[in-house]
Symmetry: C2
Amino acid sequence: MLDALFKPKSVAVIGASNKEFSIGNSVITNLLTYGYTGEIYPINPTSPEIRGLKAYRNLDEVPGLVDLAHIILPSKFVPQAMIECGEKGVKAVIINSAGFKETGQEGAKLQQEFMASARKYGVRVFGPNCQGIINTDPLLKAYCNFTNMFPKPGSVSVVALSGGVGALIMQGLVDLGVGVRIYASNGNACDVSISEIIRYLGNDLETNAIIVYTEGFADPGDFLRVALEVAARKPILAMKAGRTEQGAKAASSHTGSLAGVDIATELIFEKAGILSFTDEGDLIRAAMAFASQPIPKGQRVGIITNTGGPAVIATDVLVAAGLDVPMLSVQSVSKLRASLLPQAAVENPIDVVATAGPAHFRAALDILNEDDGIDSIFMNFVTPSFSDTQAIAREIVEVSQSGKKPIVCNFMTDIVQERFQTTQRILLDGGVPCYAYPSDAARALAALARYGRIQQRPGDAATIFADVDAAKAKAIIAAAQQAGRSILSAREVYGVFAAYGIAVAPWQVADDINQAVAAAEQLGYPLVVKVDSEAIDHKSDRGGVAVNLKDAASVRSMVADMQARLGHYGKLRFVLQKYLPGGQELIIGASVSPDLGHLMMFGLGGIYVEVLKDVTFKLAPVTHSEAEAMLASIKSAAILDGLRGKPAVDKQALINTIQRLSMLLGDLPMIQELDLNPIMAFDQGAVVVDGRIRI
Amino acid sequence: MLDALFKPKSVAVIGASNKEFSIGNSVITNLLTYGYTGEIYPINPTSPEIRGLKAYRNLDEVPGLVDLAHIILPSKFVPQAMIECGEKGVKAVIINSAGFKETGQEGAKLQQEFMASARKYGVRVFGPNCQGIINTDPLLKAYCNFTNMFPKPGSVSVVALSGGVGALIMQGLVDLGVGVRIYASNGNACDVSISEIIRYLGNDLETNAIIVYTEGFADPGDFLRVALEVAARKPILAMKAGRTEQGAKAASSHTGSLAGVDIATELIFEKAGILSFTDEGDLIRAAMAFASQPIPKGQRVGIITNTGGPAVIATDVLVAAGLDVPMLSVQSVSKLRASLLPQAAVENPIDVVATAGPAHFRAALDILNEDDGIDSIFMNFVTPSFSDTQAIAREIVEVSQSGKKPIVCNFMTDIVQERFQTTQRILLDGGVPCYAYPSDAARALAALARYGRIQQRPGDAATIFADVDAAKAKAIIAAAQQAGRSILSAREVYGVFAAYGIAVAPWQVADDINQAVAAAEQLGYPLVVKVDSEAIDHKSDRGGVAVNLKDAASVRSMVADMQARLGHYGKLRFVLQKYLPGGQELIIGASVSPDLGHLMMFGLGGIYVEVLKDVTFKLAPVTHSEAEAMLASIKSAAILDGLRGKPAVDKQALINTIQRLSMLLGDLPMIQELDLNPIMAFDQGAVVVDGRIRI
């Protein structure tokens, strides 16, 4: 448990200082200014008093127990300070000092050193090279951090590896007036990790939404497991920077750790049910909506405006984000007509017009709140000088506080004028999220709706196929491992597929021409001849594949030809395989990602993958609904449904194959890469015609 | 000229009122508050005085000349007021009143009525149903508008059809502290159009950038002509709402006019060299950068930061927008190393670190300003409590005012603290655009760079081909028109193409089997037989096309078969055409767009157009560089370069064909639709194998 870190009853500050603007001074000042309710023990070898508090020469002299200690000393003194913390029985330490792993080898050694002591004494370490934490709990008010923004208490918690972006997020929340619960920026993260903090926040009853900023994952698998569990209970809004190659380079240059699992980040977020953002402003504004609004049950938005244009802009953004601005029911329209001014537009968007008063706004809000065809309300509220905007704001707040449907408000006003500032205060104090631009407000509402969709995802588990022979597949791979081979032979690849019930076009292996002809006669024509040698990796590029051979003579001459051309690679084997024309060529593949299991890939073959890169990815294990989504999410998905009289392919067979492969990958984690390339899909069934496994 | 509207020497307000919060009162109040330097003549039949100004019972009583009159009367009185304006010699009128075309037929009639009088007397009309204009010129200070935001004078002008969005943009500019030159929101736009205002602003020496918001174009062709001319001289930043189907519906319900030319909007913006935005916040923030910064000469950005994370975010956004964050020169790196703190990162992004002082910032700025490999500077500036932020701000301003390279600044601070507010003031007063989020700042810089790319576009004119026979093509079409046909026959289509030097696969027409066989023998095999009848529109769907016929017998039996199956459509003709296998199937098409000429389309045939919608559009006339861009901009462009040993197609032949077609469309505006579908491209040449023209 991280209670000693996030809910410390007492805080020692090793390196407390009277020097203005030093970190050792800022931490003490912040604890005092923010009103920390626990004990503060400044540690300073010479000053008897820091900021009016009694200071101690060392930890040993501190009379009480110490839950949490800041260490704010030059890096070389940190290992010794850690030993002293251990001996005092300190439970958690925040190391604000820099000069460790992020600076090179020498710093890394210091980091190893203090961590050894921390482990020995059971001290949890936060940082080093970090800001610290804030817990706004009014009963605690722990500001264990050297920054200087003082958020009001609330329900949004923030985890940010980068202190700079952490501060940016806090500034944004403070500017919008969004209350914060817990803030944590853990810098080098040598012990307490992002994942562990998220788990803690998941269990924190006062946290309703979690913001995560990261530039990479030290242990993506752990992150995924934790996030899966927490995101099911409360929204996690996340942003990962370093998405572009140059961005990733910039990120790696300013942090000490972080593996590069870039391609997988979006997959992790998606699998975990995390709301992913690429714009920090959008993330912060969405958090404002999550802080007070319920999650919409569906995607249908009712818009109320008192000026036309901004509602058009909002409609564009909402629709582009997958929401709907539907026609209203006949009843709602007739109620609107009866309640609004004659010039009002009583369709969705509802334009109550600029001269509308509080009663008109209230009527429109009530009608949308009651309309079963509407899941959320977008309010566009300009403040004409001739209307009682404060009374209108009170109506919006009242309806919002019914808690029935989420409301977001684009509030266009001149805040310099006191009456409008008061109007805004009424809205914000009433928990109505307010934004300065309709697009911003629409994206915040879209984020709520996106979380609603995540909540409604089918919760199916990966299918367990009873008919697989895992032992057989393992034996095949073990044999190859023992022989020191990393590329499996065709016989092995097809054997592994067969063990998992994945259909392969009928095949046989031959060592020479006569065996090849005999095999061909047995398989029947037309057929394909492929050279099978570990030494020849891209066999079709080397003329090692011949398709549509129609008789024994062709087989004989082709095998001879390959022997002549490719014999210098060593002894050749040949695979003869039934040629199956007329199907749809597809690729299913997988590759391992460090600490994360396998990434599975699906796409159409040939030009679709090579030129159009029209492929889709999921993290294994892949469930039935996820496999279904893979088929649906490629751009050329319509081809699977049949075109120009061609029948649709057997999607169930493909979904089945993807899931069987997913189970195979789970059972055989040593597989580095695997391809079904191509797998031919027909109107009945799908059959692998070539495959490759690297272990 | 619109000088009477935008630079009025005297303003009459017909409908001036003492009633608080009425429009007739607001306009007078605004003129007084803003400090209008001309004459104000309130017109009110009963009050002798309005807001301390002498009022007149009618226009006739006004002693002086009236340049501009507001009409703020119920709509039914407006026609009479317009007559009085005409008789008084008023040059321009702003009709703030609503109740005209936007309300239905009766209102439209009133609009017609007052416009007839306006034309008779030569009065220019602004509105109706509009806000009005603002001219911030310190020598004039004309606030002829009923809103209540008071922008400071500056160089950004705003044109917004929608008053609501106009107010939103003004509020955004005022909030950011961006100075405004002229503001115009013209509502129903029955006389003075958006285009005319843009032309006026193009000639206004004090306007450096123009913001345009629209929901559609009354006359898109006129808009394009004006925008082309103005955007070549100063940046136009535009946003069109109603991009989605539902958004367009919302737009049309709240405005009285506006044709639906949605698909063409982006093409108009692109052709004109207008910077298009889909987010109003991005547009306003970009305007802030255009107001003070030079246009970068290239795409290479140098980043300076004093905290890591936000620079990573900025890098992501810049790179995704097509900019580059390149390595710095060896000289710059060694200069940085000598000038910055030892912990600083001396690569791009340059991290001067949080403890950096003014001299470090200045050194980094100077080095980037001098580095020939850098075109613009992105500054990420957090305000640590321990640094002299005001001195740092002064250094940024000084370097910015060298005017050498554009600088934008993400300024992360707690504005509540006075010292940081002062820091911000120094930056803003110094003309450094400041933003609260790194992504926002990066997008503003990207907009500057985007305008730089527009300025550098090749200015080539459409090629004029001397070898075309326009008269012949016109004669063919005139004959079809005379015969009352809208779909041209194959002979006519190919005849038109031939007249413009567009290569068609050798073809002949036959009326019966014997003619068909004779034609086949003459053309040579293999060939294609196609039925040619105006009654059969999609001939291949109806079995009216047979390919790869290899001898006379096949031709004979196929023609007989078609006659049997399709004879009920009436007398059939047949086109026999050389079958040309092995090329790349492509489509080139065109359709007419009201008031705008033709939209040309290019794409790969078959599944690429049907499923992947991988097509690209340009407005005709299409120049050589535009045709080149069309070929390059489809997603499957790599296919044109040859794949898997296939040769590249003859791009020059395609570019030539597109341009010849563009010339053809310019000469023959009566063409409604035209398709070259398919045109087969080879490594040498490209040949049309089927075509269609609808007039």
